[in-house]
């Protein structure tokens, strides 16, 4: 079995494990979206997420620094007034654009903050799915490489 197939089988087995241990509910069990995480461009990822398109929205705030001192840890937050059921964070110039995706069941606030790795200065995208449609906000984040000090 080649490596790729093995990891897909592993992931599928994991889902089963999470469902049986009650970590994720049966009805919401989804495969780790390998196609989306392998996507090289914004379009690749969005297609894999099942989006037919996406439009810019001012109702999304993307919180990220203008300059990140080190590309290994870049804080990124997405918050929106839209009724988000799903969100995704993408880093345009990373080898694979999708960093993470999030699901918001009933009661969850449309807010998430995490930290991503950025290979180089790049646009960062915060995508939000609301009412079956996808919306986007973006920001340019410059990455410096400390190198010596601190």
């Amino acid at each position: 079995m080649n490596k790729q197939r093995r990891s897909v089988v592993q992931i599928t087995a994991l889902i089963g494990l999470m469902v049986t241990t009650g970590l994720i509910s049966q009805s919401q069990a989804q495969d780790w979206n390998k196609a989306a995480f392998d996507g090289k461009s914004l379009d690749d990822v969005m297609k894999a997420l099942g989006a037919s398109g996406f439009e810019k929205s001012n109702a999304i705030t993307l919180n990220a620094p203008d300059i990140a001192e080190n590309g290994a840890v870049v804080p990124v937050g997405v918050v929106t007034s839209l009724k988000a059921t799903q969100m995704a964070i993408l880093v345009e110039k990373n080898p694979s654009a999708l960093a993470a995706q999030f699901f918001f069941p009933e009661g969850a606030q449309p807010f998430v903050t995490t930290r991503v790795k950025m290979a180089q200065s790049s646009n960062v995208y915060g995508l939000v799915k609301a009412d079956g449609k996808w919306f986007v906000a973006s920001k340019e984040v410059k990455v410096t490489l400390g190198g010596c000090g601190g």
Partner: protein, 103 residues
């Protein structure tokens, strides 16, 4: 079992704010070790957060999430004293579950 997470949950105005630090190398699969061999990718794949037996958040991480991942989410529907349960499963099948009481 994998190393423990740090989970903090505070409630204010009906909204529970959960901050999580997970211990994980999050290898991208792009790095090489000192002998020149590629270090295989290894990362947290799924994160699930429950409160009062109900799922309040779910996430899928890729390798671009930073090492020792940080996650901050918010939800309604729990009060001070309630338990928040955070779980993750990684690409090797290792898992970790930790709890916190909402303060």
């Amino acid at each position: 079992m994998a190393d423990p997470m740090r989970v903090r949950a505070t409630e204010s105005g009906g909204v529970v704010d959960v901050k999580i630090l997970m211990k994980h190398d999050m290898e991208t699969g792009q790095r090489k070790d000192s002998s020149g061999k590629t270090i295989p990718s290894w990362h947290i794949a799924h994160v699930a957060i429950k409160a009062k037996d109900k799922e309040v958040f779910r996430g899928q991480f890729g390798t671009a999430i930073s090492k020792d991942p940080f996650l901050n989410v918010k939800f309604k529907g729990a009060v001070k004293g309630d338990e928040v349960v955070v779980s993750w499963v990684d690409s090797k099948g290792e898992s970790r579950t930790d709890k916190a009481i909402v303060s």
